[in-house]
Symmetry: C2
């Protein structure tokens, strides 16, 4: 089978993917680029943030497999073949990485480690009160694969965790709620809100002045999902005038975050360069191989995107 690898890669990254995919997909031909005659034979496109238009003109295409978990940018490409199944990356290694980042952020906020880092800059020796994990309720918004993994990891480490999603969900050890009005009341009852929602029309600019006003006084906001879900001026206002005490941000409206952006220098903002969960090349290559094998055997494909829903 001929497979196209299309994407925007960093220096050397494409070669690493080609090698990992070659190992996982023996017997197939993977083309990092394809001229017109080759394009006629492509049956699968493996994509990582491809240039708009890259997937047009592939008459035999039967599967688009994303190497990224979020497909919101892919779905903005109006030339995307409308009837070809589209699968997103759901990889246990990536969910584990996300759980690590969320747990680190929650531990840092709970135990005051961001505050101690500020104190170190002033050589200030000042112990702060120590609360127990069970005194720090946390809300996880978005209960897909990653949200579920994050919620369970936090619960296993002693935090009382509430989950929220658009549709009803059930997770052992996690109190789950759904729907817009439940969200407004939930964020008022927790110390830390961790956002893992997919970017859709319903979640774009969801975190605005109105929603921040519902947060508990002194609460923290951890955004590990998409920058476009946050009205950045409203977040800054909520940090400066309350109720927010801290924000941990991995994603931004513009990435890389421009050097002059206020987030970089705000004492109550922790900036990460979109690294909460990087795709693990070897693990992801195996996930891709399993889906391509399912395609060949006519078995059901995994992790298909509902294009109408947006994830």
């Amino acid at each position: 089978m001929d497979i196209l690898l299309a994407g925007s890669f960093l220096e050397g990254e494409q070669q690493i993917w080609l090698q990992a995919l070659d190992n996982a997909l023996s017997g197939h031909r993977i083309l990092p680029d394809a001229h017109a005659a080759q394009r006629a034979g492509i049956e699968v496109a493996i994509v990582a943030n491809p240039r708009p238009g890259s997937l047009a003109g592939l008459p035999r295409l039967r599967l688009i497999q994303s190497l990224w978990a979020g497909v919101d940018r892919l779905l903005e490409d109006t030339t995307l073949p409308p009837d070809v199944p589209l699968a997103r990356m759901v990889d246990p290694a990536m969910s584990a990485a996300m759980a690590e980042t969320a747990l680190w952020a929650v531990l840092s906020l709970h135990r005051g480690f961001f505050a101690y880092a500020r104190q170190q800059q002033d050589a200030l020796w000042l112990p702060r009160p120590q609360l127990r994990a069970e005194e720090i309720p946390v809300a996880v918004l978005g209960l897909g694969e990653m949200g579920r993994t994050v919620a369970q990891r936090l619960a296993h480490n002693g935090y009382p965790v509430s989950g929220w999603s658009t549709r009803p969900a059930r997770i052992d050890g996690v109190r789950c709620a759904h729907g817009p009005s439940a969200l407004q009341s939930l964020v008022g009852t927790v110390r830390i809100v961790v956002n893992l929602l997919p970017l859709t029309d319903a979640t774009r600019s969801l975190f605005d002045a109105d929603l921040f006003a519902c947060f508990a006084r002194g609460a923290a906001f951890v955004n590990l999902a998409r920058g476009a879900q946050v009205v950045e001026e409203d977040l800054l206002a909520a940090l400066d005038n309350g109720p927010l005490a801290h924000a941990v941000l991995d994603v931004f409206g513009r990435e890389p975050l421009p050097a002059q952006h206020a987030f970089w220098r705000h004492p109550l903002v922790t900036v990460l360069p979109h690294v909460a969960a990087l795709t693990d090349v070897h693990s992801a290559a195996r996930v891709v191989a399993a889906n391509i094998e399912a395609l060949e055997r006519g078995h059901p494909l995994s992790h298909l995107v509902d294009r109408h829903r947006g994830y």
Copy 2:
């Protein structure tokens, strides 16, 4: 029973302890201070870093109960009654707090969060390679109550954990070694060394140039035990000239750490003001009450210190 509460407390702290102990020890009289006539009747002394000499001249004393886990400073008091049983604080809430701090330090080192914090100061957007938890072997030195809790918490969160202690130990899911030569080889095989050893003659200045030279290149050192176990100039040299890549320090030779000390401003050192695990007042008061009840009933006392061993 008359009980003496003796210690060096911060503003308001003594009052909080008195109230918590009163709640947990109904039927007993707790004296924050005792004149000569009262001292004759004291049967238990509850101590938190008391002034040397405070426990001399208590003829009916039957138990010294520390509110601190480490009793190294207490044992330096030459007037300490030699034959009275001495118990240290072993509190599950304190062990949980220590496990949180160790896990936060390990997650921060594993995922590069200290490096990202430095990058934020320069508004530098630069993703770093992401390793999996199973690729980050960690050593926990000291396998008392706290060390065991820390080792298990790290193992439950996916890290391959080795434990080391003076005497042989067994912990589920943790590879255990003991003895001096095992220590030198162990520190060369892990990415992160977490120190939770008690301060004794054998561990004073244990972390010196010779031992740091055995660490793996790029390894990190996390000290959550006692500052006197580290030769601070040797640690700085190991950071500046290798092999160490980072140190997380909660304890120091002099505390509070003097404002002009190099640790405060070293880019590869994270300073905490001795807060890795604070005693939890309410939980500790229950631990004290249980030991005093055992004393009254003639049952075995818990967490007794072997003064010769030093912990």
